[in-house]
């Protein structure tokens, strides 16, 4: 019996793993704890207080940046998910056809090129377009975000489609349902968990983006991450901890929801 157990046991692995989890969470935990610090330095605890949350709430630049993030992310994620859903329908459940590999490569390109390279490329091109057209609104950021969100939205939708049963759609078609009706009443409801997962991934990825946003944004278009990046250059107050904590809570909520949904469907 003792031998049975020892097969899976490698000496020291459990210790390293537990240290790994500890180190993974220590910085995040510190960050969150000091967001509630009454004092103004990280490292010395001076009692519990919500003053830094209040300070962040009253800082109009933070609120502006948050609202901008929450404008860009859903729009970009929606565009990316719609485009990715169509692309997934076009690239699955078929024998290989000419151009299929090309489409895969194209759609996954944003994952393969380093973000900093895409960022400077967009800086170069969009700054010229801004001069030509005179338009310098949020459109550029939404476009850039939609582009790098597409592969993230595409992957779960494609995975869902590939495991779907084709016979249900055939049955509907045999029963004289027109193609559009088959799509709306059979295909789409079956795809839905994949689409939802894809949208959530795209949303989180857009919300988190720093590098591309930093290079594409015009003056006064800070999103929450680029605002934070700018602040990190200066002396940091626990206000940053407070924003980070709220951001963190939001991410954890979305990821938990994602986990819950993906478990439920199986």
């Amino acid at each position: 019996m003792a031998r049975q157990f020892s097969v899976r046991h490698q000496r020291g692995f459990t210790t390293i793993a537990l240290i790994c989890f500890f180190l993974l969470y220590l910085p995040i935990a510190t960050l969150v704890v000091y967001a509630f610090n009454a004092g103004s330095t990280v490292g010395t605890w001076e009692g519990f207080s919500l003053r830094w949350f209040e300070a962040a709430w009253e800082n109009t630049r933070i609120i502006d940046a948050t609202l901008r993030s929450l404008t860009i992310a859903p729009i970009a994620a929606l565009i990316a998910t719609a485009a990715a859903t169509m692309a997934a329908l076009a690239t699955t459940r078929t024998a290989p056809y000419p151009g299929l590999t090309f489409k895969y490569a194209f759609i996954n390109q944003p994952l393969m090129v380093p973000e900093i390279v895409t960022a400077v490329a967009l800086l170069v091109v969009f700054s010229q377009v801004k001069v030509w057209t005179g338009y310098s609104g949020l459109g550029y950021l939404i476009m850039a975000h939609a582009a790098f969100c597409i592969p993230f939205a595409y992957l779960p939708i494609r995975a869902r489609l590939e495991t779907m049963d084709l016979t249900l759609e055939r049955a509907a078609a045999d029963l004289y349902a027109r193609p559009w009706r088959v799509f709306r009443r059979v295909t789409l409801p079956l795809m839905w968990p994949g689409i939802l997962a894809g949208f959530m991934l795209a949303f989180v990825v857009s919300l988190d983006d720093v590098v591309i946003t930093e290079f594409v944004k015009s003056a006064g278009q800070d999103t929450l991450p680029t605002y934070m990046l700018g602040q990190l250059r200066r002396a940091v107050t626990p206000e940053m901890n407070a924003i980070s904590t709220v951001f963190l809570a939001l991410s954890v909520a979305v990821v938990s929801l994602f986990f819950f949904l993906s478990r439920k469907k199986t």
Binding site: Q10, L24, K103
Partner: protein, 308 residues
Amino acid sequence: MSKAQDIIKAAERRDLRSRWLLSAPSLLIIFVAAIGPLAVVVLYSFMVKGDYGDVKYWQFSGEGWFSVLFERGLFDDSISLADAHLSILWRSVKISIITTIVTLIIGFPTAYFIATRPPNRRDLWLFLITIPFWTNLLIRTFAIQEVFRNEGVLNTALIRTGLLEKPLQIMFTDGAILLGIAYVYLPLMVLPLYASLEKFDFRLAEAASDLYAKPGRVLRRIILPMVKPGLIAGSILVFIPSLGAYVTPRVLGGGKHLMLGNLIELQFGQGRNWPLGSALSISLTAIVMLSLLVYVRASSKSGARSHG
């Protein structure tokens, strides 16, 4: 007979056309906001540097590519290696390789630990790895900065316990960048390793053990060869973003310890040398693509073996 074939052909053509129409939005968006600009950067890398940043349009030269590795003397035509660029390139490669090794050493036991938990507990441990992965990179970098700073948690704790008298300077060193990147990308190593280990049939390890193989030997001769695809996937997934890292070295390295990503930004900012910046960007992209190619080769090879 031929009519039936015609009908089938027409249906196939219609199917193909609708498939291209359906992919059009994705292809268009990615062309406009990713691939097109990248092509422009390739073009720019061959143009003459403008006076205020920018480039002189349609005046071509190889100067941008030349200055990736070499530099000319200020007053004469002497050519020497560009030490500044080479040291940054070397730092990027060095940090990325060491990061990959460090995350492998910590990540493998962690993935192994999760894979050997009872099935109903695995999801929870996996969830604990996934949360930092989905947490904003900037927040994680900020968190690690708060630990490293001179007045940060680590130094305060060390001074309080009397182990140190003066704070240890961790921030703005290569070591800080290395640890920061390793911290930030660790989940990217653990997840593919876990995916491989989870599929591993531990009865094989039992068999080896029954034949008197010691645990270390079972690990080296049975487990590691079987999870090689996961090892390669994890290493590539950590190596690639490390090489192109921008935020972490910018925050933890200060202005002095640049990596390739920061050098590229510099050329488009204060450096005002767009052709050089473009050439550096294309070089970085090429290295990444090459690593990906190695990965695809390796994974398809080991995949073929496990099926056959």
